[in-house]
């Protein structure tokens, strides 16, 4: 079966990797989503029902970025439960080899307890597994979204 890369096999388990970290230069929180560009393209096409929406086109990339924005939520967790979502700003998307990167940014600090909802492509591929790495500088906390996972949370010290 197939492969790293643009080469998606019908049965290769699709997956994405999102990283959340604070930029040492700007102090902003940066969110970078990395998706296999073939998975992402199939997703955009499936969601919009338009075969011409390939990721080579600016519109295809922008559609994907908007889709990711809709399906990725970060919020703080308090004793009262999950708070309001952080207002992540959508910066854009670009192709990178076999992958497409979607960028979001937030001008603020990471909460000490964080909850994430990641439904990227899970409506298109039942087997989709989404992985989120949250870097606190010294350590990485990871969340993996599978099956019917909705919110997952972790403590950031």
């Amino acid at each position: 079966m197939l492969c790293i890369a643009a080469l998606s096999h019908a049965d290769r388990q699709p997956g994405s990797l999102s990283t959340i970290k604070t930029s040492p230069t700007t102090g902003n929180i940066e969110v970078i989503h990395r998706l296999h560009n073939h998975d992402a393209e199939q997703g955009v096409i499936a969601v919009h029902g338009d075969r011409s929406l390939t990721l080579d086109k600016l519109e295809g990339r922008a559609r994907l970025a908007l889709y990711v924005e809709e399906r990725f939520i970060v919020a703080s967790v308090t004793d009262d439960g999950i708070g309001a979502p952080l207002a992540l700003e959508l910066v854009g998307a670009e192709l990178d080899g076999d992958y497409i990167l979607v960028y979001q940014e937030y001008n603020g600090e990471l909460p000490t307890r964080i909850a994430v909802q990641n439904g990227i492509l899970r409506d298109v591929f039942p087997e989709q597994v989404n992985h989120v790495n949250i870097s606190t500088g010294a350590e990485v906390r990871s969340l993996t979204f599978r099956n019917d996972d909705k919110w997952l949370s972790t403590d950031l010290k």
């Binding site: 079966m1 197939l2 492969c3 790293i4 890369a5 643009a6 080469l7 998606s8 096999h9 019908a10 388990q13 699709p14 997956g15 990797l17 990283t19 930029s23 230069t25 940066e30 970078i32 073939h38 499936a46 969601v47 919009h48 029902g49 075969r51 990721l55 080579d56 600016l58 990339r61 922008a62 559609r63 970025a65 908007l66 889709y67 999950i82 910066v91 854009g92 670009e94 990178d96 080899g97 990167l101 960028y103 439904g119 409506d123 298109v124 039942p126 087997e127 597994v129 992985h131 790495n133 350590e139 990485v140 990871s142 599978r146 019917d148 996972d149 919110w151 997952l152 949370s153 972790t154």
Partner: protein, 817 residues
């Protein structure tokens, strides 16, 4: 009743694989990153040696299949009868035989279907269509009979995707048995159901491509390390296979072209004389030649027929058999010549519909031959007479002996409405990404004919053994296809993407059984592929690696290696201890992150107070600036009391702490006299050469020990590259210091300047420190990309306010009771 969404907050547990040693240390957290793997690997035996080679009594079973199959195009089904000759080469007596029924994965009530899970109360259109198709069509094998060589019924029991056949008489070591199975099934529509084979329907022309895989009852593997391999087929973990000879008669509509594992045996019965002439010509052609042209294929698909033809194929020593059939096929072929293998000439062929043009005729068969050239150099000459690439679907790929199913088709060309030449523009066009995608997928799938179709690893147990190794070779072959392959910016490397994944908290090691892997792509494809790139380019070097890897491939071609056979062979043939490498990359979830935490500069001291004290005085003056108040007083012209009353001067005004005393000189004399002659000579030489001495501190933050490629830049701007082997970490895998003597002052040092170790964080790789911009910051700096994207996002957001075309889910509302 309305269901409320339940918000679940789950804290994840983590496991520390880094310390999962057989013998745990209790007095400290001592961890020996270089401890030998002997106790962790299986004990060598007569089947598998300690050097990683097949043992003196290595064995494997032989399962020969003869199949007569008919494609029923009227209802998309096939039916067949087959005979299996099974030879028991194991030392064991077998009372029953297991047969794989892979199609049962799609059947009602299968484990694969019953264990599918839902997400977020969303019903996608794809899931809905799949459910409807499963309700309409009965999938899975219908077994009509299982009989012995004399036609007597054999008792059999179906267990999901496996079938146990009870033998009337036990099959002893060295004995053979023959039995027959008659069966049929409805073929799945691949784009609806999802699988590795099926049919692809083209609604515009109401035409079909059939591509059959996992399509016949096939002997399960019986192994020395695991007995019968009957883990059920759930979809992800692929196949564990047995070698055998195949003879397959495929009856299809008379206007179909058939591509299959093996060699066509009856050209004259199924091809026109013109097609046979072209096929003969292609056997000496260095470029792809049409056997069926695009024009002929377009004509051919316009009509159907009720006549049939039977195509006969033979394939020796293969672990599987697949085929494809369609009246849509364009067919081209060229020859690949090689030396030293079973076949001096290999016929490379491609089969594709007009919808795949113009991409396929230009790139497919060339990609096949390119793969054979590169892979053969790294392993062994291609071991079969044909190598085929079939365009079976839109995207993706799948591999079988001598035949592969590959995706990628061009997109419809959208001509500008105002273009006066619009009529003359092509119907279809393709992007650079589609081209590279096609070449890449064909390299990957044809590459699989080497691994695991010839080096017969156990895919259901260890996905990485074929996918990781094959992705590694695919990467090498892509680099040789054209420069900057897959490249949308400079310096694209397979190592870049895996480093981020490897920092994750909740990964599993590469050495994890296939169905339990969390992130399949990263863990089974990219991470092992990246590890082999590091091993080849950085740890061993190309010469040692290429020799050792070829040795592995040749030792295990047409045999069944396990991970320990690979680990042991690469070490055995390279002569380099690699246990630390396997431990770190394959058994742990550590990542590579080396930091330079400090650098101190020294000069060798002569210890002669008459020389050194003055130098010390100068250095102190450099290091500690004069007090600001004192400077400003002098600038103001303020006169000190001492200047006004010189009689206040004494010994201390004329001498400072760096004034040389007799005691200092006596101490120096006794030091020099106390040295051995060789020590004195070394000191004098170092003083004369006036070298700089550096102590550089490295910290292993990621935990995975790594060689240290270093770039030193001296005060003149000259650069020096050096490679420190990973063994520098052997006594302390957390922190080490390295001493370097250089004749020129070093002004900066960088670890991994060529980005070859999979280091996850380059912000700590420099001394003095340096802050690199993130990808996001670089993207924002590119004004044009950023502005165009911003405009497009704004436009789409505004449009969305009006017409909503992003409704991806089937609209659901709560059921009314």
């Amino acid at each position: 009743m309305r269901f409320q969404s339940i918000f679940l907050v789950v804290a994840l547990l983590t496991a520390d694989f880094a310390f999962a040693d057989a013998i745990r240390q209790t007095k400290s957290d001592h961890y020996d990153a270089f401890r030998q793997l002997d106790v962790d690997l299986p004990t060598p035996n007569v089947y598998r040696t300690a050097s990683g080679a097949p043992g003196t009594q290595y064995w494997q079973q032989q399962a020969d299949h003869k199949i007569k199959v008919t494609l029923h195009e009227e209802n998309q089904s096939i039916s067949a009868s087959q005979t299996i000759d099974y030879k028991n080469n194991s030392p064991d007596t077998l009372r029953y035989i297991w047969v794989q029924l892979d199609q049962n994965r799609f059947a009602d009530g299968s484990r694969a279907r019953m264990t599918q899970t839902a997400s977020d109360d969303i019903l996608g259109y794809g899931a809905l269509a799949r459910a409807q198709r499963n309700a309409d069509v009965d999938h899975g094998f219908k077994i009509e009979s299982v009989t012995d060589g004399r036609g007597r019924d054999l008792k059999y029991t179906i267990v999901d995707t496996m079938m146990r056949i009870d033998l009337p008489q036990a099959l002893r070591s060295g004995q053979s048995t023959t039995f027959s199975i008659a069966w049929s099934f409805n073929i799945i529509e691949e784009s609806v159901i999802g699988g590795r084979g099926g049919y692809d329907h083209f609604p515009e022309s109401d035409t079909y491509i059939y591509f059959l895989a996992q399509w016949f009852p096939k002997l399960a593997a019986y192994t020395d390390y695991n007995g019968w391999k009957h883990q059920q087929f759930l979809g992800a973990g692929e196949f564990t296979q047995e070698f055998g000879d195949y003879e397959v008669e495929i009856t299809v509509p008379a206007d179909h072209i058939v591509s299959a594992t093996g060699e066509l045996q009856n050209e004259s019965a199924v091809l026109t004389s013109e097609q046979r002439r072209r096929l003969d010509e292609s056997r000496s052609s260095d470029k792809p030649m049409f056997i069926v042209t695009p024009e002929e294929a377009i004509e051919n698909e316009k009509e159907g027929t009720t006549d049939t033809k039977t195509w006969v194929f033979k394939a020796d020593n293969v672990r599987d058999f697949a085929w494809a059939s369609s009246r849509k096929f364009i067919w081209d072929a060229m020859i690949h010549r090689q030396e030293g293998g079973e076949f001096d000439e290999v016929l490379a062929m491609s089969f594709y519909p007009q919808e795949a043009e113009p991409l396929w005729s230009q790139f497919s068969t060339h990609s096949v031959v390119h793969t054979l050239e590169v892979y053969s150099r790294f392993s062994f000459p291609y071991p079969y007479p044909t190598a085929q690439s079939v365009n079976a679907w839109e995207g993706g790929g799948m591999e079988y002996p001598m035949i592969t199913f590959n995706g990628r088709r061009p997109e419809p060309f959208e001509a500008d409405e105002n273009d006066p030449d619009a009529a003359s523009k092509p119907d279809r066009t393709y992007s650079r990404r589609a081209k590279h995608g096609l070449v890449g997928v064909i390299i990957h799938e044809i590459g699989h004919i080497y691994f695991p179709m010839t080096v017969n690893t156990d895919e259901r147990q260890w996905t990485w053994m074929d996918e990781g190794i094959n992705s590694f070779l695919q990467y090498l072959a892509e680099l040789e296809w054209e420069e900057n392959f897959h490249n949308h910016r400079e310096n694209y490397s397979i190592l870049e993407h895996i480093a981020e994944y490897m920092t994750s908290e909740n990964q599993v090691p590469i050495m994890t059984q296939s169905d339990s892997i969390l992130q399949f792509g990263a863990n089974s494809y990219t991470k092992p592929a990246a590890s082999l790139v590091v091993l080849r380019e950085t740890v061993l070097g190309r010469e040692l690696f290429d020799f050792a890897f070829r040795e592995y491939a040749q030792r295990w071609r047409f045999k069944r290696p396990t991970p320990s056979d690979l680990f042991r062979t690469l070490e055995d043939a390279s002569g380099i201890d690699l246990d630390w490498f396997w431990r770190g990359w394959y058994y742990s979830t550590d990542h590579v992150d080396v930091a330079i935490t400090g650098m101190r500069e020294y000069k060798v001291s002569s210890s002669d107070p008459d020389v050194e004290f003055d130098l010390n005085r100068q250095e102190r003056a450099r290091e500690i600036p004069e007090t600001l108040g004192q400077i400003r007083n002098r600038e103001e012209g303020r006169v000190t009391r001492l200047e006004r009353f010189p009689e206040l001067a004494d010994f201390y005004n004329e001498n400072d702490e760096y004034t040389v005393t007799n005691a200092d000189r006596n101490k120096y004399t006794s030091l020099i006299e106390g040295l051995e002659d060789w020590e004195r000579a070394a000191l004098q030489r170092a003083v004369a050469e006036d070298d700089y001495v550096y102590f550089i501190d490295f910290s292993n933050i990621g935990g995975l020990v790594s060689p240290l490629p270093l770039l030193l830049t001296d005060v003149d701007g000259d650069e020096e590259f050096m490679m420190i082997p990973a063994e520098i970490w052997r006594r302390n895998h957390r922190a080490v210091s390295k001493m370097l003597i250089r004749d020129k002052k070093i002004v900066s040092i960088e670890v991994d300047p060529r980005r070859e170790t999979a280091d996850a964080d380059f912000s700590n790789n420099h001394f003095p420190g340096r802050v690199d911009q993130s990808r996001l910051e670089l993207f924002k700096e590119d004004d044009e990309s950023r502005d165009m994207m911003a405009d497009m996002l704004r436009t789409l957001r505004e449009a969305k306010g009006g017409e909503d075309d992003t409704d991806e889910a089937v609209p659901l509302e709560p059921a009314q009771n």
